[in-house]
């Protein structure tokens, strides 16, 4: 099947699903088994940039922005739940429509203050990491890219291991919501276009962390997330000049605040990611350490049952010691309109004014250095999603 045929297929299915009002399916299983809950979504988007290629070949306009997900949840008993979500996407060079198990888990909810999930579980990092591919759950098409970079989804979305979670009331002080996890992330070895090195092996020996949120009053969430992980990789240097093993430990944290009341939402987050590189052969691949700074402030308002408006400012500084312009930072001013055509179909339109090139990928831009790319540029995106 050609790429354009796939796009057409996704678009046709999206419109077809949306025109036929649907509800979440509840399938009755034989015997005394409880019913199975089925939900899903299909999205098709379009990206266009005034200059530079962002996420896809966007400077010429790109439809390489599709997502499909289907999940099944079985509340086996009042404490035990099983769930699985199959997900497939295409975003520029990422995804290629390959269906993957997005998450799957066995959840034992012992008490409200303590439950255990085992399996592949979404990472609770910041306010929105675990919903970063849930288009229907937010106003914006692209979440603030400084903290939720769409191209890092494979690294940051989910871990395979265990998670403890809970929710407890604190009397007049509100409530506390917490999640702690430990496991690993399975990554595929993929060719790195533009890199002189060939990736031979790639694995994550551990990822661990947690998120704690304090809910002092209705609608207010104040929280902090901390994540530790290490990436180990073996690289083959160009023209057979040797092999180098890298250990890349990283510490990521984010402080979060969100206030949502009635139809209004205001959120802000500030984050720093410390990444070290330890090399077995520094002459081939130098060691180093960088700290990136990421922040955004976001607001959205539901005007009526079919219209939402949202805006955010997001700032990315990949290396706090090199705040150069344009390659050392990216400011992103975004404005979104979301139209809910009906309960199962939405359309979004979004404009971004970008200042800086730090969030761009050289490999998508003919391997030109970020400093050589157009410093002031704009992104326009539209996306439609059908879901049930």
């Amino acid at each position: 099947m050609t790429t354009s045929t796939r796009f057409l297929l996704v678009a046709v299915v999206t419109v077809g699903l949306a025109l036929r009002p649907a509800a979440a399916a509840e399938l009755s299983l034989p015997g005394q088994l409880p019913s199975l809950d089925v939900h899903g979504f299909i999205s098709q988007g379009f990206l266009l940039t005034s200059a530079n290629d962002y996420l896809a070949d966007s400077s010429r306009g790109s439809f390489e922005f599709s997502e499909v997900g289907l999940n099944l949840t079985l509340p086996a008993t009042d404490r035990l739940t099983l769930g699985v979500q199959i997900f497939s996407r295409k975003l520029g060079p990422l995804g290629d429509y390959r269906a993957t198990l997005d998450w799957y888990y066995l959840d034992y909810h012992w008490r409200d203050w303590l439950g255990i999930r085992a399996g592949r579980v979404k990472l609770p990092f910041g306010l929105y990491n675990d919903i970063s591919d849930v288009d229907s759950a937010r106003t914006a098409i692209l979440l603030p890219p400084s903290i939720y970079p769409a191209q890092n989804r494979d690294f940051l979305l989910a871990q395979t291991g265990v998670e403890a979670y809970g929710y407890t009331r604190l009397g007049s002080a509100g409530a506390l919501d917490y999640r702690l996890y430990a496991g690993t992330i399975f990554l595929d070895v993929k060719p790195q276009p533009g890199s002189p090195f060939t990736v031979v092996d790639l694995n994550v020996p551990y990822v661990a962390g947690g998120r704690v949120q304090w809910l002092p009053i209705d609608g207010l969430r104040l929280g902090g997330s901390l994540q530790f992980l290490r990436l180990d990789t073996d690289l083959l240097a160009p023209s057979g000049s040797g092999r180098v093993a890298l250990r890349i430990p990283a510490t990521l944290w984010v402080a979060s605040a969100e206030y949502a009341v009635q139809d209004f939402l205001l959120a802000a987050e500030y984050s720093r990611w410390l990444v070290k590189t330890e090399s077995s052969n520094p002459s081939l691949f130098p060691e180093g350490s960088t700290t990136s700074e990421r922040a955004y402030v976001l607001a959205s308002y539901r005007v009526n049952s079919w219209l939402q408006a949202g805006t955010y400012y997001s700032r990315l500084v990949p290396d706090v010691d090199r705040r150069t312009f344009p390659a050392g930072m990216q400011h992103d001013f975004a404005l979104t309109l979301r139209f809910d055509v009906n309960r199962y179909w939405l359309i979004k339109a979004e404009g971004h004014y970008m200042r800086g090139t730090a969030g761009l990928s050289p490999s998508l831009n003919d391997n030109r250095p970020l400093s050589a790319l157009t410093p002031d540029w704009a992104l326009f995106a539209v996306k439609t999603t059908a879901y049930f």
Binding site: H39, G83, W103, D112, K122, I131, D133, V134, A260, Q262
Partner: protein
Amino acid sequence: MRLGVSILVALAAAATAAEQPPSAYVVIVHPANRTARVERKFLADAFLRRTTRWPDDTPIRPVDLGPDAPARIRFSEEVLSRSVASVRSYWQQRIFSGQGLPPPELPDDDSVVAYVLSHPGAIGYVGPGTALNGTKILEVN
């Protein structure tokens, strides 16, 4: 004099009562439920599935009306402090991140009453004037 003050107090009380809008919903539970009164926050936590058990450890089974029902709209705004659409967005987040399922949505008040009667841990809300058929009204502080 004392009689005059009493009459004034009674009139003021009557006026205050008359100014309060009639409740747009009644919260009901299974007749065997031993809880008589709950805090609004408990009710919100139950419908957002953050609190999943009654004090006697029976699983809480919340049930919603459809999104356009006047009782649903008022319940959502007053108890959950969010519009129905915002609550729906909350459940989209939970569903697609694998963290939970929303309460079932039933088409009318009578269906909610029937559901509550047939599930011991159930809790629902119905419009005023609905025949409660033996379900128990839960007082909300």
